[in-house]
Every structure is written in C-alpha cells, then in structure tokens.
C-alpha cells in the first residue's frame, strides 16, 4: 500500500473517532457543534505528554481521554440545561473559546537543544513519538483501526443493551424518560463525558500522525464535518458515522479530477445525498429492515 493510500485510510480512521463522538450525542438528542474542542484537548494534552515528558503513547492516550472527558463535563454542566438550537450554539461558542485558549497556550521546554511544545498561534511542532519509536505507517494504521474497532464494539454492545434503550429514549423523548425514573441531566452528562473521551482519543492519535498541530486544526469546519459524518452516514447504527467519514473523505479525495471546483462538486453531492436520504444512508428504517431480513426464519 502506498503512502498516500495509507494516509487517507489513517485520516478516515482518525476522524471516525470524532464522528462517533458526535453520533453518541445525537443519540442522546443533542446536536453538538463543539466536539472538535475535545479532539483538540486530546491532541494538545497527548502531544505535551509524549513530546515534553517522554510518556509512552498508550499512557498519554489514556490521560488525554480522561482530560477530554473532564473538559466535556465542564462544558456539559452549564450547556446541557439548554435544548435544541440553543445547545448547538452554546457548544459552538465553547469550542471557539477552546480554540482561542489554544492560541494563548504557550508551554515550551528544551528537548534535544530545541524549544518544543505549544507556542500559541505558531502551533505545536515536534510531536515525534511514533517516528522516534520506529512505528511504521502501516502499524499506526493498525493501531488506529484496532482502537476504533474497540470503540465501535463497545458502542454496539451498549446500543443493544438496556443502557442503549435508555439512551435512545432520552434522545427521543426526555420528558417520557424522566417520568420513567431516568435522571436525564445526569445521563446526558455521562454521555457527554464519554463523547469527549472518544473525541480526545481521536485527537491524540491525530497529533501523533501529523507531528504538528495548531489551533486552526480545531476550528468550526471540523465541528461541522463531525456532525455531517453522522448525518450523512445515518443514525440507525454506529456504523453510520463511519460510513459518513468514508464517504466524506472518499468523495473529497476522488473529486480531485474537478480541480479548483471540487468543493462545489463535493457540496452538491452531499446536498443530493441528504435530499434523497434525509436521515442518512444507514437510517433507522434501513437498519431495522436489514436486521429483520438477516434474522428472518426460513
């Protein structure tokens, strides 16, 4: 496999964490435009730990997930009281605050005779853990997809459990869920924390794949894309957002033949897709039909 294909596949895997993070919140009935903030928290914290303190990547990943969950709780506490559009706007504002904080974040140490670490708008260079430890691109791809498979398996198990039923009921009708004894606010906070941790895991891997991050990597465009992944792919199953990422990045890469107008072509294709399939490709009806067909008795 050539470097370009490996790079595209790795990017699809990395942004899938962000897509799953947005999907999880969508299931709980909340549309967040701010998951890129937790992706950024993961990227910066993981990068600082490995590049400045020599912490092994797996441990840095765990720490980044914890920080991502904490950051999501911090944002969720005041914002999850809001509903619908107000919540979406609040998450967008919180993400922009996070991006501005990344622009102000300066924390450098001398590593091998060079200043390394976050340097505000100048970004954060030298996140070289995978290069210094001889991790080949194919191995990194395997790591990304292995972790993604774990996250996906966990989500699919939850979706089939009682917890999954509660999650969808909170998303569909929080009033009814509350009347059945579900503490809706606390439940949504838990979901937000899990979504934050997932996004942060994607972020730490993204930072190590690119070796360089800057605040602009985590701006509103990424938030819009993360929601689009779930909406294009469909909300019927956790595989939907992954399909969304594959289509989004795949369409972007395959529309290169259109040169400078490819973003117009890409936007048009997405618009047509959402007109034909308003709840995404793998919507609830299709998933239900597939499941019913698969388990139909002869």
């Amino acid at each position: 496999m050539d470097d370009f294909t490996l790079g595209v596949l790795t990017n699809i895997g990395l942004f899938s964490f962000l897509a799953l993070s947005a999907y999880l919140l969508l299931l709980a009935g909340e549309m967040s435009f701010g998951q890129q903030a937790f992706f950024g928290v993961g990227a910066y914290s993981g990068g600082v730990l490995t590049a400045l303190y020599g912490v092994p990547l797996p441990l840095a990943g765990l720490a980044a997930m914890l920080l991502g969950a904490l950051a999501a709780l911090l944002v969720g506490l005041p914002t999850l009281r809001l509903r619908g559009l107000y919540f979406a706007m609040a998450t967008l504002a919180a993400a922009e605050v996070a991006r501005l904080l990344f622009e102000l974040f300066r924390f450098q140490r001398e590593i091998d005779g060079e200043l390394t670490g976050p340097d505000g708008t100048q970004g954060f260079r030298g996140i070289r853990w995978i290069f210094e430890h001889g991790v080949e691109p194919a191995e990194f791809l395997l790591l990304v997809y292995g972790l993604l498979a774990l996250a996906l398996a966990a989500l699919m198990i939850v979706e089939r459990s009682r917890l999954g039923t509660v999650l969808r009921s909170v998303g569909e009708d929080p009033g009814l869920a509350a009347s059945l004894g579900v503490d809706v606010n606390r439940f949504k906070l838990g979901v937000a924390a899990c979504a934050g941790a997932l996004a942060a895991l994607g972020g730490v891997l993204f930072a190590h794949h690119n070796s360089y991050i800057e605040p602009r990597n985590f701006d509103i465009m990424l938030g819009v894309h993360s929601l689009a992944y779930a909406l294009i792919g469909g909300l019927g199953t956790a595989l939907g957002p992954l399909l969304g990422v594959t289509l989004d990045i795949g369409l972007l890469e395959s529309s290169r033949v259109f040169g400078g107008t490819r973003m117009i072509v890409f936007g048009g294709l997405v618009a047509v897709l959402l007109i034909v399939r308003p709840r995404g490709l793998l919507d609830e009806q299709l998933v239900h039909r597939i499941v019913r067909h698969s388990f139909k008795r002869p």
């Binding site: 501005l100 030298g126 210094e132 430890h133 997809y145 292995g146 070796s211 602009r216 990597n217 040169g259």
Partner: protein
C-alpha cells in the same frame, strides 16, 4: 489481538531516533497558475541528508480539509540534501507544506509558506493568527 500486542509493545518502547531533521524550501512560480517548482534542502545536525525519500503534500491551514495537495514524490537534486518537486496548488495564500521523510530517517516536517506570483516565502511568525 494483534492490536493489543502492538499496544503492549509500544508501552516500553525506547527512542530509536533522537535528532530531528530540518528543511527549508525555495519555490519558483512557473508562470502557470498556482504551479511552483520547489527545492527542498534537508539537513540533520547541520549536515545535508541525501538518499531520503521525500513526499511533499500541502494543506491550507485557513481552510482545513477543504484545500489540500495530493502528495508528490520529490526527486533528488544535484547537491547533497537537495530534492526537487513540482507543486500544483489550488490557489495562492498560506500553505502548510508537509514533508514526509522515509529511508535513512523517518519524520514529518511541516513548513508554513506564503505562495504568490513571486514564489514562496516562510510565513512570518506574527502574521500567523487564528483568523
């Protein structure tokens, strides 16, 4: 299972490459819209690095995921540590040029350059604001 083994193997991994590479870029506008002939000069510890495989890609930091360049392989130049690549960008402006190195050293270097009709210049630190 293979992934778990990889994770465990990564836990005590020791560094195999301490010194990072440095690169600078010189680009000449070809006269065709947004096409530049670029020379990459690669050094490590002040010494030119020859025999490396250099793949050049580029992103627009102001429009992440929207405008990027499909990676092109750079060809070794006449001077030690020199590599030539033709970049066919989508527009002028600030680009983050990504040099993926393999062979005698593995690394990924990111250089911020401003491209226009005169060529390319490193972006001055103070002008790189978020908006």
């Amino acid at each position: 299972m293979r992934m778990l083994a990889l994770l465990l193997a990564l836990l005590p991994a020791t560094p195999v490459l301490a010194q990072s590479a440095h690169a600078d870029l010189t680009c000449r506008f070809t006269g065709t819209d947004f096409v530049y002939d670029c020379v990459v000069r690669l050094t490590r510890g002040g010494q030119p690095v020859s025999g490396a495989q250099v793949v050049v890609g580029a992103d627009m930091p102001s429009m992440p995921m929207a405008h990027n360049l499909a990676p092109v392989k750079a060809k070794p130049g006449r001077q030690p540590g020199e590599y030539h690549a033709r970049l066919d960008l989508e527009m002028t402006g600030e680009w983050a040029v990504k040099l993926r190195l393999s062979g005698p050293l593995r690394d990924l270097l990111v250089l911020h350059y401003e491209f226009d009709e005169r060529g390319a210049r490193p972006v001055p630190p103070r002008s790189r604001t978020g908006r």
